[in-house]
Structures are given as C-alpha cells and as structure tokens.
C-alpha cells in the first residue's frame, strides 16, 4: 500500500516539476500576439470564396481558411493575402489559430462549417452564408451590406457587367454569334465535362452568352461536372472548347497525350483553333473576385 502512495506522490512531483521547468521559456511568446483590433473589423473568413468576395470589396480578412488540396491560399489571390493568417483547410479549420487571432467577426460557409455555429459564436459574432443559394452577385451584396460597403459592391457588379459586354463583343468578332462551347477538365485519368452549374456554367453560358454544346445541358444539373469517355468527345460538336488542365504533371502529360490523338485533332474546335487552355484558378473559384479575374483572362484570350 505504501508503495502505491509513493508512486502517486512521485507522479505528482514530476507533474509539478515539469510544469515549473517549462514555464519561463514559453511565457514570452503567448503575451506578444494579442494586439487589440483596430477600427476596421477583424474578419476571419472560413470560406475561400467569402475571402475573395471580401477582397473584391477591398477588405483583407485577418484570417482565412486555405484550399484543402493546395495547402495554401488560392494562387490568384495569394499575394493579396500576405498578412492573412492561415486557418487550416476548409473542411477542418484550425480552431486554435482562429481563437488566437481574436477576430471581431467570423464568416462561415453553411456547407462546410455551418452545423456547429455555437463553437464560432463563442469566439466572435458569426455570420453564416449559404453559398448554394443565389449567385456570387448576391453573396457579394450581402457581404457588402455587412461591412457597410454596399456601394463598392454595386460598383463591382456594374463594372463586371460592363466588362462582360466588352468581352462578348470580342468573342463575337472571333467566333461569330451564338457559338456553342463546352468546358472540360483534364485530370490524370479522367475527362470531365462541366455542366451548366457553377463554377463554370454561369460565367460561360450566362455572362458571356455562349450556347452550351450538344449534350452539356443533359448533364445532371446537380453536379458540377460529368466524367465522359474520349469516344463521345466528337458528339459534343463544340465550336470552342475551354480546357482546364490540373496543375500536376500527370494531368499535363495526360493532356499532351490527348492532344496527340487523331480524335482530338479531328474535333471541330481544334481544327478551327478554338481550344482555350485556362488555369484552374481563378476559373473554378466561384467568387466575385474569381469571376472578375476569369473575365480578365477571357478578355486577354479573345483580344489576341
């Protein structure tokens, strides 16, 4: 019995000793970081899309989640987020980093972290956005309302509409009116054709006024894309093809191989030299800023 007690005391002693031993080394660091917020709201965004909506309004969030696969901010906005704290991947945000940041307000995407808002509300007032409802314009307006920059939001949207008209003209010069397009993505093992849903659908088929190529509208409207077999590529009979090639080398090689096949060479769009390889970001980023940058990209492509 005595032995047990000795061990117990021993454990406690070690606990206390280890605790005291480390105290001095760590204290300095924890004190530094808690600066009080300035007059600007310290926004922590837990959605990469909301982050980019904020950037479109000229607000840099103090913290933002990162793209899970990328392990970083999206490449097209990375340099605007130099001072922004990384809050982990969107599906598994780093709560400790969030609390350390002491944001004054938190923006959530309902799809990813909307289920336990109380966790966030404990840290700061929280706004939940349902990005599945409405377009990026609606999202931008509601963000604008919250940060009191409605005018900037309106201006951003009207600038965007103005620019779409420009780009539309450029496209008509190049491709003629009412041309049918498809957007596809080449991954290492698959060919995916985008549906008329976001991310690719709205900008191509609504903003830029393209007609969907044969069969694009048949793709399940609830899915962003469908995987197809190379064999049916000619059936789409598209006048122009937007191709997104994944950044990894496997996909690049896969696309090169695809380009070498006679089937590809025989496509109408390929023969007419209307294949446009576009980067995955910003084209797949369905946010205000992402769409704007995609539009810039389209302008560049078609003004050549």
């Amino acid at each position: 019995m005595n032995k047990k007690l000795t061990i117990l005391y021993g454990i406690m002693l070690i606990l206390i000793l280890s605790a005291c031993g480390q105290t001095s080394s760590n204290d300095g660091k924890s004190a530094q970081k808690n600066k009080p917020g300035s007059e600007e709201p310290r926004i922590a965004s837990l959605s990469i899309h909301l982050t980019n909506d904020l950037l479109a309004l000229g607000i840099t969030p103090v913290g933002s989640v990162i793209g899970g696969e990328l392990k970083d901010f999206l490449p097209h906005v990375k340099d605007q987020l130099k001072d922004t704290e990384k809050l982990g991947p969107v599906k598994d945000p780093d709560m400790e980093a969030l609390i350390e940041l002491s944001p004054s307000v938190i923006y959530l995407d309902k799809e990813f972290s909307g289920q336990d808002v109380s966790k966030y509300e404990k840290i700061a007032p929280t706004h939940v956005f349902n990005l599945d409802e409405g377009t990026w314009r609606d999202h931008l307006k509601s963000v604008g309302k919250l940060v009191d920059r409605q005018r900037q939001a309106e201006k951003f949207i009207s600038d965007y509409e103005k620019q779409t008209k420009e780009v539309k003209d450029l496209i008509e010069n190049k491709l003629g009116e009412g041309s049918k397009v498809m957007a596809m993505r080449v991954t290492a093992k698959e060919l995916r054709v985008f549906s008329t849903k976001r991310p690719m659908g709205p900008i191509l088929f609504q903003d830029l006024g393209f007609k969907p190529a044969n069969g694009v509208e048949d793709i399940d409207k609830n899915l962003p894309y469908e995987v197809i077999s190379q064999e049916v590529l000619p059936d789409f009979d598209a006048d122009a093809i937007f191709v997104i090639v994944n950044g990894d080398d496997e996909s690049q090689t896969a696309f090169k191989q695809l380009e070498d096949t006679p089937i590809w060479k025989g496509l109408k769009a390929v023969k007419g030299k209307h294949v446009y390889v576009v980067p995955d970001q910003p084209w797949l980023d369905y946010s205000a800023l992402g769409n704007k940058m995609a539009l810039d990209n389209a302008k560049e492509i078609f003004s050549k």
């Binding site: 696969e69 990328l70 392990k71 991954t187 290492a188 093992k189 698959e190 469908e226 995987v227 197809i228 077999s229 190379q230 064999e231 049916v232 000619p234 059936d235 990894d248 080398d249 496997e250 996909s251 090689t253 896969a254 191989q257 096949t261 006679p262 089937i263 025989g266």
Partner: protein, 344 residues
C-alpha cells in the same frame, strides 16, 4: 526419365483430343470477347467500321479513329494485363503451394503502388518505361518483405502465414502511400491510379508491354513442368533431380515481373490471379505446363469482359475495372478460403 509421371502423362495423352478442343474453344472465346469489346462502347459503331478500322485503317474518319486509337489498344492492353496477372497468380500458387496466392492479396501490388506514389511525389515527369521499372522494384521489395516476415514466425512459411503477412504488408504500404499522397497533394490522382483502368493504355505503352509480358509468359510456360513437380511436394521434385530452390526463385521472379509491369500500366487489379488459375486447374488438371497457358487465355477473357462491362453498364460514364473484377473475385476467395480452412 520421370517414371512417376509417365502413367499420368499416358492418361493425359488419351485426353489430348479433349484438351485440344478445350484450348481451341477458349481461344475462340478470347477472339469473340475481343471482338465484342472492340464493337461495343460509349459510342455505337457499325460492324463494317470495326472491320475496316482493324484491317483497312483510314486515319481520317472519326469513327475509325475511335476504334483504332481508343478501343484497340485498350482491348489489347486488357488482354495482356489479364494474362499477366493470371499467370503471375498461377506461378505463385504453384511455387508456394498456396492456393490463396495472388498479387493483390499478397501485397505485391501494394509495393508497386508505394514506389509509384513516391515517384509521383518526387519525380513527377518520369517516362513510362522508368515508372515501370520503379513499379517492378516496388513489387520485388514488398515480395521480399512478405516472405521474410511470413517465414520468421515460428513454424515456417505456410499458405495462411503468407496470406496474412501479405495483408499486413499491404496495409502498411497502403497507409504509407496515403501518407505520401496526402502530404504531396496526390490523393485523388493516386486513387484513380490505384483503382486501375485500362482506358489509359495507348499504342506507345503497348510497345513496351507486349514484348515484356509475352516473353515472361512464354518463360513461365517453359518452367511449367518443373513447377508442376514442385507443386506436388518437395520430396518428389528433389527425387527427380529438380533444383527446387532455383525453380522457386525463378518462378517468383517471373511472377513479380508480370505483376509489377501490369500494375504500372493499369493500377492494382486484384483477384484475377486468384480466380483464374483455380478455374484453369479445374479444367486441365494439375499440370502447370497446361495451367499457365490456360490461365493466360482465361485471364485475358476475364479482363476484356470486365472492361467491357465497366464501359457499357452506365455509358458514357465508366466504372472502375478493379471493382468489376472484385465483384467476381471476393465470393470466389471466400469459397476457396472455406475449402482451405476445412483442411486445416
């Protein structure tokens, strides 16, 4: 020479006619399934187009291009890889006395996978031939591991131990591959790769695959007689002057070459090497000189049909071929496992 076998061989000869018929039938089956696989697909093509695409190729017609550039290499690839996996399985079953041996179950495919994951991460742009070499090295390493572990447990290398140590190694390598994939952003690419598919096979792959696999299969057939002796037990074969260990090692090397090369081309497709040799054994008896070619033919047929199923069940989408094979393979494994278990 080979007195013990002469009686059986005599019996065998009386069945030569039947066997001939059987082989001709299976070859016919192979031709028919290849034909079906070339004809049916996501896009409908007429018989005439197929015929002229194969025998009178006109590269300017889209329809013929589809046949020639997409379906033909794919079907030939499926046939080759099916044969390779099946022969590898037959060899492994023969030289290890293990009715449960199969490149997928034994964890050899997992070894290839791991090395491929590493090369995806560190040398993303390596040419196909080098990837194949890496894949082979991975297969060899995991095979070595499995055998060392299987025989280190007291009692030596029994079929069951081999299977279990294979499963352990496979689990280990699989989680390491996932780790590499997660850290280097390859997750889903690697999963696609792993799920296996013959869709990606092009003529330039076939240029490498055809000679290696064919040579390895013929080599395996030439080893057939010695393998049958080994499979009857160590005593018989040593009495007959067969160098057991040499044949064992050779057999495993061929099996690993076949499995490694195939994995590098189409990913991991399990169960072919398990199911096919068993069926072949039922058909032609315990003679590996017959089992091996029969396995090659049946393996080709299985994979061609599985791929055809994968393409046509839900067009224009494609299912993963590995799943199709597993659907057949798992019940079969359970059946054999029950039989093996009963004898223990």
């Amino acid at each position: 020479m080979l007195h013990t076998l002469s009686l059986k061989e005599f019996k065998n000869r009386s069945n030569v006619f039947l066997l001939m018929c059987l082989f001709i039938l299976v070859i016919l089956g192979l031709v028919v399934s290849m034909f079906l696989a070339v004809t049916f697909g996501a896009k409908e093509v007429t018989f005439n187009t197929v015929w002229s695409a194969v025998f009178n190729y006109n590269p300017t017609l889209t329809q013929q291009q589809i046949i020639h550039e997409l379906r033909l290499p794919r079907v030939i690839g499926a046939a080759l890889v099916g044969a390779a996996f099946a022969v590898a399985g037959a060899l492994m079953q023969g030289v290890t006395h293990n009715p449960l041996a199969d490149a997928g179950i034994l964890g050899i495919n997992a070894g290839s996978m791991f090395v491929v994951a590493l090369s995806f991460a560190f040398f993303p742009n390596i040419p196909y031939s080098l990837l194949m070499l890496f894949s082979f090295i991975g297969a060899v390493l995991s095979t070595l591991c499995i055998f060392v572990i299987g025989s280190s447990v007291p009692g030596g290398l029994t079929p069951i131990r081999l299977t279990i140590s294979g499963a352990v190694i496979a689990a280990l390598l699989h989680s390491l591959s996932s780790g590499v994939a997660i850290y280097y952003d390859l997750s889903q690419d690697l999963a696609f790769w792993y799920a296996g598919g013959v869709a990606g096979i092009k003529w330039n792959h076939l240029k490498v695959l055809v000679p290696i696999i064919l040579i390895a299969i013929f080599w395996a057939i030439s080893l057939g007689r010695s393998v049958s002796l080994i499979s009857m037990g160590n005593d018989i074969s040593t009495n007959l002057g067969v160098n057991t260990n040499r044949i064992r090692i050779l057999g495993m090397i061929i099996a690993v070459i076949l499995a490694g090369v195939s994995v590098s081309a189409v990913g991991s497709i399990g169960f072919v090497g398990l199911v096919i040799p068993h069926i072949s054994r039922k058909l032609v008896g315990g003679y590996y000189q017959l089992i091996i070619p029969m396995s090659a033919l049946l393996g080709s047929i299985l994979l061609i049909l599985a791929d055809l199923g994968a393409r046509t069940l839900n067009p224009p989408r494609e299912l993963a071929i590995g799943i199709m094979v597993a659907l057949v393979g798992v019940p079969f494994f359970l059946y054999i496992a029950r039989k093996v278990g009963r004898n223990l």
